[in-house]
């Protein structure tokens, strides 16, 4: 990324944006809100330290995840992204419950079908017995 314009981080922090700015590749000046959330929740210094500890090829993902967590926490200061986790766990329980119910209905149908087939066999055998002299 060109550093002729400051990144969102350096703009927010009102400092010069060096060519090797750690945050610049991940916080474009076109999206100031993204860094604002990260700055509010994690802090610029912590964010820089956490990204610096990672190999280059993983930093973009980490920045995205931190941005997601930060924006979730800004939206919901009490639960943050944990609210999403809770809702997903509820969805899993609901889906598992539906699965159990559906499997039960399938088993019931299969049992019914089996019973009908057995009755048909008995009827066929009985019919054969009557036809024979």
């Amino acid at each position: 990324m060109s550093h002729s314009t400051r990144c969102a981080a350096c703009k927010s922090l009102r400092r010069r944006c060096p060519k090797d700015c750690v945050l610049a590749p991940y916080f474009s000046p076109t999206n100031p809100q993204r860094f604002a959330c990260v700055h509010k929740i994690f802090g610029a210094s912590n964010t820089t330290k956490m990204l610096e500890q990672l190999p280059l090829h993983l930093r973009a993902v980490a920045a995205d995840c931190m941005s997601f967590e930060a924006s979730s926490r800004v939206e919901d200061p009490v639960y943050g992204s944990v609210r999403i986790i809770s809702r997903l766990q509820e969805q899993i329980i609901e889906a598992q419950s539906e699965l159990v119910k559906t499997k039960g209905e399938i088993d019931f149908h299969n049992a019914q079908q089996q019973q009908m087939q057995q009755l048909q066999m008995i009827h066929a055998i009985a019919q054969e017995g009557e036809d024979q002299p």
């Binding site: 967590e69 926490r73 939206e75 009490v78 999403i84 809770s86 997903l88 889906a95």
Partner: protein, 241 residues
């Protein structure tokens, strides 16, 4: 602003005897102990970080979020909601230390994948059930489901926003061991453009986080499922994929 030490009803919420600050002779709270500063009466952290195990929990929070940021966050939260906030903040901090790349988003990805898989299986079975209910002669049904369409990989763009989920929430259900995700065994790295399995010991991490939540909830008198283990998660361990 004074913190109400009895808001949570627990006896062990603060550094000692449920006091709101360490200035009452009970010693500094875990946060002030970690920060090596005087724990004043009304310390905002004192009700939630006791002097014994609280320092360890606070270390993680401080490393990831910073004491100042967390203090500001808590100040803007009503007192009766602060315990929940502390629990979730501790969880996210621990998750980020364990997984410096994905943090708790790894958990979200795994749960989303589980939901997608379950819904795919449910759709298949419901379609199968519909064929069973038809009056026409039935084709023999396969004993095993055919290969289901591989769900598309998840990306961070697919993550729901916190505001899009219902407002009702029960913190104790979050750490229910019955609904911990079964982590896929693949070790493929996750990427916003292509989801893979995390493969990390997140169930162990989830267990530690359950212990943390139960401990905090128990101290504050909130009913929590199961017994309360006393082990404290190690605050500084982190490993990359």
């Amino acid at each position: 602003m004074s913190v109400n030490p009895t808001s949570s009803g627990g006896s062990g919420g603060g550094g000692s005897s449920g006091s709101g600050g360490g200035g009452g002779g009970g010693g500094p709270c875990g946060a002030c102990k970690f920060l090596r500063r005087k724990c004043v009466p009304g310390c905002i952290f004192a009700p939630y970080f006791d002097s014994e195990q609280g320092a360890g929990h606070f270390a993680a929070v401080h490393k990831v979020f910073g004491a100042s940021n967390v203090s500001k966050l808590l100040l803007h939260i009503p007192v009766h909601k602060r315990l929940d906030a502390v629990v979730t903040i501790c969880y996210e901090a621990q998750a980020r230390l364990r997984d410096p790349v994905y943090g708790c988003v790894a958990h979200i990805f795994a749960l989303q994948q589980q939901v997608v898989n379950l819904q795919a299986e449910l759709s298949y079975l419901q379609a199968h059930l519909a064929t069973l209910e038809l009056p026409s002669p039935l084709p023999p049904h396969p004993s095993t489901p055919p290969t289901m369409m591989t769900p598309p990989p998840l990306s961070i763009a697919d993550l729901p926003s916190a505001s899009s989920v219902p407002a009702t929430y029960d913190l104790s259900s979050l750490f229910d061991p019955m609904v911990q995700p079964s982590w896929p065994m693949q070790q493929r790295p996750m990427d916003p453009r292509q989801l893979g399995g995390s493969g990390s010991s997140s169930s162990a991490g989830g267990g530690d986080l359950q212990a943390l939540a139960r401990e905090l909830l128990h101290r504050h008198g909130t009913p929590s499922p199961g017994s309360v283990p006393c082990s404290s998660p190690s605050p500084s361990q982190s490993f990359s994929k």
